[in-house]
Symmetry: C2
Subunit: 450 residues, 2 copies
């Protein structure tokens, strides 16, 4: 329900913008709507409107909205701020989000922002900046609540009551030694049912998920999914000291990004592709992808060109040849998509690749024979020529078998070479199915028809 | 790190299976590995191995593993169980997961399993079964901890201490009236810092996210993402009574499914496509998609066939025509993918469609002119024929403009018609770019060359 409101608000705002009724928009943007909804509104607006709306947000509300904006869009607005404004908005951020955003700004600005912060906050952000953005260290927050193992539950309660509030998503207290090494966790659900005179050491959990700061974020996400975690402590890989914790809200972003990554990459789109990117940015990105695919297309044309003489004699071949290439492309894409997902979910390894390839070859063969028969029958009816029907049937079966092999092995090979299978896979696959399709169809025709 | 272990375990298990060393596998499956890892292992195994491994799991451990298996695979194993076994394993499930699994079983079995449960549990599961699986009601759990508004913090602490444990992911206590209407929530993080003599009514939050049982799950997911929730109460839409709560672990599954849905659908794959589905199931699903695409391919061939006479006279056209279709298909897919994601994220509505179409037309025009020039130059060099170069340039520009229009408007139209744009979009788009590509190229050639 709240989602439909974003589009409804957008309608209102657009109409008000057109009629120049900025008062009403100001009212909506500065308090009437929650900051999360304002962020959604900005993300759903074309560039010019987006900038106008941003200017209508009062300075004091900008930080609140920024923290909910997608990183890419937020960074754009921050680039236009002076250091003073940046310092003001940075107070609204959790340390991990701030660290992510700072990475988009020029180094001199970052230094100034850091210099303006309290020593404690600065040290936190600097610690986060020292880890890559796509590692557990870059994803973590430093807002942990730590306790010692030798105190009683009653003392923990009294200690907590001294806080005015606990950080959001606090589901565990972290039990640490005097030298800050993590000894275990104490879930709040366990603390609340414990006898007040029990000692923390006796009720804490030591068999818990602990994350090394260097763990890649996609592995962190898989751990959270597998273990149903709300938060998990992060430690330094060498000293084993507690550094911070990762919370599920940040992991959810990773999961969405990761799941979208394959789909966007397969279409040659950037991960941080903004639906409402301005024309120039969009054109540049798309042009590159079209250029890459043009190479593929010319390779296919070159193969066809080899059979110029054959085509000159039997025009039916020119009419039918796209069918062979297209069926191979479709069948190959299905396998490719399935294997890319399997790799992302970490399901595919040395032991099951062979089974997978076998299955795909059998599936390709059965579907090849089935659809080759259908296509041959239709071809025979259309062109009244049995030989062409046999030839297209053979070419379809050959192409579907190549499609199965390429679709299965190509992404596994690319992954091993450190190349993103989602990005490079579909281009290479199409080249293979086009080339094999035209080569087998026109090649068989040259042998049997001329 | 734990993820690589799944593949490592798989290696061990596969080798042991081959050498017949079932003792070691039994040991791994029944206690040495956590149930989550055993579930991953089963999901990453081909059907025959999967069945063998399942048989090596002791009856008493089956329920534990089942709760972590993906619904589709879990249901397959449950179909082979007798009622007694089903009753035994059902004790391991949270009520929402059990309700989901029961929907895969025959009605007579479901009745028997329900009859075997305690009245309270049965009522819970029956309540869940009365909501569609893809609504908040189908996603919720009934394990809420409720308190009354007029008691003090101290009494809450004493009440909680009477439990032996609190449900996982309990981050809020739910404050309800005598008639079970939800009045507000009390976050544990707030309870723990409150004075013991404060009254719940004074510290509870009333401005919290409450979910109607009929809300579709994708909207629930968007609410959780937007508001950074760990759990949220679910109420009946009419009586406003508290029914249960939704927790983030279940929402994470929804988010992953939803994000994967577009990618899988665009390749014509089912959402619950199991990477290691058996041959027959896979063949059937793939065959349908190939058949649908064959219609597209024949439509394209039919269009080419209209120009048989032209092709007969200028064979260069047959060599070049796949380039026109392919560039259109690639450009169109990019727009389509972007718009499908925008629709899924609820960013695209009546107010910004026009802007989006404008941008895509301009981007298409610029890229059309750019690549048409390149292709024309290459064509002129290759075939030493300026007229064909002009013709292919014109056709490329026309096809890229059609691709932009179709890619933008088609998914929006399909969505309005209640058809899944991810599923139907790519097939229709390809038909359009093929037909327009061949029609414009061969049509222009017929006019200007003959």
């Amino acid at each position: 329900m709240s989602e439909q409101n974003t589009l409804a608000h957008l309608q209102t705002v657009t109409e008000s913008l057109e009629s120049g009724a900025t008062m009403q928009i100001r009212y909506l943007l500065n308090g009437a709507l929650p900051a999360q909804d304002v962020a959604r509104l900005l993300e759903s607006s074309p560039p010019k409107e987006r900038k106008l709306l941003w200017e209508l947000i009062d300075d004091k509300n900008e930080g609140e909205v920024l923290q909910y904006l997608s990183e890419d869009i937020g960074a754009q607005f921050m680039k236009d701020m002076n250091t003073e404004q940046l310092v003001a908005v940075s107070e609204h951020f959790e340390s991990d989000d701030l660290a992510d955003l700072l990475q988009h700004l020029p180094e001199t600005v970052v230094t100034e922002v850091l210099a303006s912060m309290s020593t404690q906050d600065r040290m936190r952000v600097e610690a986060l900046l020292s880890y890559p953005e796509d590692s557990a260290g870059g994803l973590m927050n430093t807002d942990t609540i730590t306790i010692r193992p030798n105190i009683t539950v009653d003392i923990v309660f009294r200690y907590l009551r001294r806080h005015t509030e606990l950080p959001d998503m606090t589901d565990n207290l972290l039990v640490v030694s005097r030298s800050d090494r993590l000894l275990g966790i104490l879930p709040l659900t366990k603390l609340l049912v414990a006898d007040t005179d029990e000692t923390i050491r006796d009720i804490m959990e030591t068999d818990c998920t602990i994350i090394d700061a260097n763990t890649p974020v996609n592995e962190v996400a898989q751990l959270f999914e597998k273990m149903d975690l709300v938060s998990a402590p992060v430690i330094d890989s060498e000293s084993k000291k507690l550094l911070g914790r990762i919370t599920i809200d940040d992991v959810v972003d990773v999961i969405r990004d990761e799941a979208e990554h394959s789909m966007l990459s397969m279409a040659g789109l950037d991960d941080d592709e903004d639906t409402f990117s301005p024309i120039f940015k969009t054109t540049k990105r798309r042009a590159v992808w079209l250029g890459i695919n043009l190479v593929t297309a010319f390779i296919a044309s070159y193969v066809i060109g080899l059979f110029q003489n054959t085509l000159d004699q039997v025009v039916a071949l020119a009419i039918l040849m796209p069918i062979v290439a297209s069926m191979g492309g479709i069948a190959g894409s299905q396998v490719l998509t399935l294997v890319i997902r399997g790799i992302a979910l970490n399901q595919i390894g040395a032991t099951n690749t062979r089974w997978l390839l076998n299955r795909e070859l059998i599936v390709g063969l059965i579907n090849g024979i089935l659809w080759a028969t259908v296509i041959a029958a239709l071809t025979a009816l259309w062109f009244d020529n049995l030989m062409i029907a046999y030839i297209i049937a053979g070419a379809i079966i050959i192409n579907l078998l190549f499609a199965a092999t390429t679709g299965t092995l190509l992404p596994i090979l690319l992954k091993k070479l450190g190349i993103d299978p989602a990005l490079a896979g579909s281009v290479i696959l199409t080249t293979v199915t086009d080339v094999v399709g035209f080569l087998s169809f026109l090649g068989l025709a040259t042998i049997f028809l001329l």
